[in-house]
Symmetry: C2
Subunit: 355 residues, 2 copies
DNA sequence: CTGTTAGCGCGTTCAA
DNA sequence: TTGAACGCGCTAACAG
């Protein structure tokens, strides 16, 4: 049996509340008893029972984290960021994996709430159309912050996807590429933003977008990038650069290009998104756009903890500025001054575009 | 305010315990009240408060997971495995990252226990010499299972590291390599096992081990593999194959080899451990040994849940058989029948060698 | 300075 | 078939 407050009290012939007063650092306790209590606590190895405490205080020191897929390094990195700031103030994280199933998400969130988590970080599997998500949540009065996938009028921390598309595409233009294709993921808000940025960059540089230069792929699948690229290579004229919506897609694309004897970056430039590990050790070191995944987690946790402590109102969406990472796969003109500085940039929270 | 049992009872003019009886599916309740209660529960959207319930039942439906580093895909994959079986029976996971600090580990474990987790999966940061870890734990009576790093006489799930070393080295021998070096990690039990397997394989094939063919590196660091390989290349005669204790080390080694104009696998074979993502897309597709990380998590969770439900005694260590994955980096004799089958093998729990 | 008392929301006797 | 009463371990009033 674990030692309880009662045991400590009994051993000292004190009342429970006196012992408690000592532990809660109440000022009106004599030095003598204070010492006695502390000694006994150490001797008996007493640790307060958090379950009992939580029942009273309505605080568990636990944050719920809901993600659609633990296989994706994006989410594990975000979790790392959350943990970094949460653990610093002795909060714990409860994890749940929804497997991209909105119903399961609702269920898990409900369970987490009944487990009294102090707040939630959610990468929602819901359709951006649904406002079910945050409606239920705000009804329950549980603070929450969304990550990765934004919903209107809900606290959100994520990268600016339109900027990602814009930065990547602009970089390709700068490198002298002219027929820039895009492997997109139109099923997620994240993917849609990147398409917008892509189109915007083309427009800005007076390049006409071609429908047949946009092919669908899946975020997490090298195979989809491979297949999509095979399709792309049948276009005429062939694209001379590819902006892939994710690094896995780009890796599949790289495979397809090399297989067809297309030289990277000479015949075709390639850039992805995500800054996956080992990207620089691939057959051709892969240019990419860093989303600052850990930073997203950190900022989300900070925002959430602000909400939990009631210090701040639900803030406006926080959009992190992505960073271009140039490697060989998109570097056609090595003479062009390579933007080294960009790689060193730290993430900064930018002013949100929509309130 | 969230609805409580009391609210449901009041709304129906029933007593709390009657409502509770319905929800706990007690048999001696009339169909009529049963219906009324269920309807009201749905109407008021009642969810039992897990904190209160846990205080009474001494069960939280939560497992603690303690890992030294959330950056390593090994651990996130193990966590995925744990979650897979835990979530299936509606258990949640509480995460803690100890940052390889034994003291922090002890502290976190204590906190998790005071949060009343039903059991713990621990990848310990302690020195294998310490038996502090499981001594404290068994004193508290909290079920636990160790993963990744074994301690004598404690429930453990992991891969058989000696087999890893043996399999990898034997494979290199089979490919006709004769001067096989090893980039080792002697600071961890895991690394030590791999060294043993390496030496055993050499011995078994009548190859004399050379001290100067073993260079230290760090598990998670490409840079360390790179540096170590540079050292290795100064030996005379040069090694003609390298068994790296991890994939990151192997990736660093690959970089160093290519930089020095050493052809892989012709001049030098290379194999790692870990089956990292994108290993097949590297400059030279990397041979490796799969540790079945997700499987480790699954088995650990199963073993732990058995302990939690009190069905089984602390089992003997469970050692998973690793699987050789052959890719280009170690394939010098393409004519040699490539062990395709090995790639398809599923993990199996093997009989432990020591009790 | 210290002790008494009354909950937090739920589970579990035992009466009615 | 239903309800009253107690306790899980702790916090926080309020007395003394």
């Amino acid at each position: 049996m674990r030692t309880r407050l009662k045991d400590v009290a009994k051993a000292l012939n004190l009342s429970i509340s006196t012992v408690n007063a000592v532990l809660r650092n109440r000022s009106d306790i004599s030095k003598a008893t204070r010492r006695r209590v502390f000694d006994k606590v150490k001797e008996l190895n007493y640790r307060p029972n958090w379950v009992a405490r939580s029942l009273v205080t309505q605080r568990t020191q636990v944050l719920g984290v809901v993600v659609p897929d633990l296989s994706r390094s994006f989410f594990t990195e975000v979790i790392k960021g959350i943990d970094l700031v949460a653990s610093a103030i002795r909060y714990h994280l409860v994890l749940t994996n929804t497997g991209e199933d909105p119903r399961r998400e609702d269920d898990e969130v409900a369970t987490l709430i009944s487990k009294q988590v102090d707040g939630l970080v959610i990468a929602s599997a819901h359709d951006p159309g649904d406002n079910v998500v945050w409606r239920n949540l705000s009804k329950m009065g549980v603070p929450f912050v969304l990550v990765d996938r934004a919903f209107p009028n809900a606290p959100f921390v994520g990268v600016d996807d339109e900027r990602i598309g814009f930065i990547a595409t602009t970089h390709l233009v700068d490198q002298g590429y002219e027929r820039i294709a895009h492997l997109r993921v139109p099923s997620l808000s994240t993917g849609i933003g990147r398409v917008r940025g892509y189109l915007k960059a083309l427009r800005q540089h007076g390049i006409r977008a071609r429908q047949d230069y946009m092919v669908d792929a899946e975020f997490h699948s090298e195979a989809s990038g491979y297949e999509a690229t095979k399709i792309l290579l049948q276009r005429s004229p062939r694209p001379d650069a590819i902006f892939a919506a994710s690094d896995p897609i780009a890796i599949g694309a790289m495979q397809a290009l090399l297989e067809e004897g297309v030289r990277i970056p000479l015949d075709c430039g390639l850039i992805g998104v995500g800054q996956v590990r080992y990207g620089e050790y691939l057959k051709v070191p892969l240019s990419t756009v860093d989303q600052h995944r850990v930073e997203i987690g950190k900022l989300a946790a900070k925002a959430l903890l602000d909400l939990v402590s009631g210090q701040k109102k639900p803030a406006k969406p926080i959009l992190i500025e992505p960073t271009l990472i140039v490697r060989a796969s998109s570097l056609r003109h090595p003479r062009t001054p390579r933007p080294r500085g960009a790689q060193e940039n730290r993430a900064r929270a930018a002013i949100p575009r929509n309130g």
